[in-house]
Symmetry: C2
Subunit: 216 residues, 2 copies
DNA sequence: CAAATATTCAATAGAATTATTGAATACTAT
DNA sequence: ATAGTATTCAATAATTCTATTGAATATTTG
């Protein structure tokens, strides 16, 4: 194989995969699927897309091997292909947060408006006995994987279940990741009810990905 | 700011950056610039593109903040924006190697044809006293950063400078990364001249990125 | 088998991307 | 200033991407 052909083949193949990342709707789908498998309709609802459009984007992600599909009854569940796919999305996300000021600025502004600014990071709180981790995602996502010692109270039920939370601890709320708004809503609600509360910037997978980093 | 608008703003902004990755020519440019700054013409030559086309792609990379430009005399030198940008490219690359079989297959086939298969990894050789690291990139790239204890002999000069290499050690050749062919050429040449030689899969930046991993 | 539901497909129009060409710009050196 | 060189810009046509619409397919349930 000639050198030029070799390089073209390699870079073209990789670009084929990276193209799947180059669309806002698909990034949102990936971010969602990182927290557990979902049906087309759930994806469409969560992302405010039409079902047909979501399906089309899912085909693109599937052809790029970023997501896989599993049929159960009349439903088809889509899920992220693996940790490497999440790692790539996270690397792109972290890069954008550092290199594109608009991203960080928009994030900060939203946090300020929702009274969840500033957030905290896992390494600051994971050994803190006066902190209580709270997972506000739907129970299926909690079941698919969660931070150890976290309580699970989905955001919709939080206002009715405040009594389950320890009064004397700082509540560290987390959700699907930095661009999910559930934890912001939770922190706002908790603060309004007299709790000390902070938003965790990382998601379960973010921590899981760097497991080694926290291990010892 | 409304929740939907917030998410659209964030994901759209990140997709804007990731779009810059979604083209084979631009990936090749990024891979090249990771090894040190280059002029438009050098980039065009190395990647077999027209100068105008390379310039156009560089504008896209610059607008996406993935590369920066520095003027010196009549030349403009382009360089990667930072380690986060390289980390994103590496994450995409590693993902493709794992999830897209064609990429690994093409790579293996090329290595077999050029007699540089199989390669070795840094963690296998970095403490091996019977190994001699050899950097076959141009001297400017060596100067911009290289593995410690590596010898620098650009690939074009290698055949005339074989005498500088220790006969009794295994020569570990490396270059710009897994898709660069310099190290393959070097290994083929070294083997043809009776040396024991292996191709290192990682580049200098790959090792530098995971510095902590090798530190202790 | 028929009805109901989840998902995909096909067609379309509008928008964005790409490589090429040749002209325009910006800087240096004389 | 003028000439020379590096780089960018502008215009173009071919291709690809995107959201929408409505029809088609596949599976379960009755």
């Amino acid at each position: 194989m000639e050198k030029r052909l070799f390089k073209d083949a390699i870079y073209t193949a990789i670009a084929g995969m990276t193209k799947a990342f180059s669309n806002a709707n698909r990034l949102e789908i990936l971010d969602l699927l990182a927290n557990g498998e979902k049906t087309v309709e759930e994806i469409a609802t969560q992302t405010s897309m039409s079902v047909a459009n979501a399906s089309q984007h899912l085909q693109i992600l599937k052809n790029a091997r970023l997501v896989g599909a599993r049929r159960q009854g009349t439903f088809i569940y889509y899920a992220l292909s693996g940790l490497k796919a999440y790692a790539a999305w996270k690397a792109l996300r972290d890069m954008a947060l550092e290199l594109e000021p608009d991203v960080q600025r928009t994030l900060d502004q939203y946090r300020l408006e929702t009274n969840s600014y500033p957030g905290c990071h896992f390494d600051e709180i994971y050994q803190e006995p006066a902190a209580q981790l709270l997972d506000v995602r739907p129970v299926e996502e909690f079941a698919a994987g969660h931070l150890s010692n976290a309580l699970s109270i989905p955001i919709q039920e939080l206002s009715e279940r405040l009594g389950e939370l320890p009064r004397h601890k700082t509540i560290i709320a987390y959700c699907r990741g930095p661009f999910c708004t559930y934890a912001d809503e939770a922190v706002a609600l908790l603060k309004a009810n007299g709790y000390k509360a902070l938003r965790l910037e990382e998601s379960y997978l973010d921590i899981n990905l760097n497991e080694d980093q926290w291990k010892n």
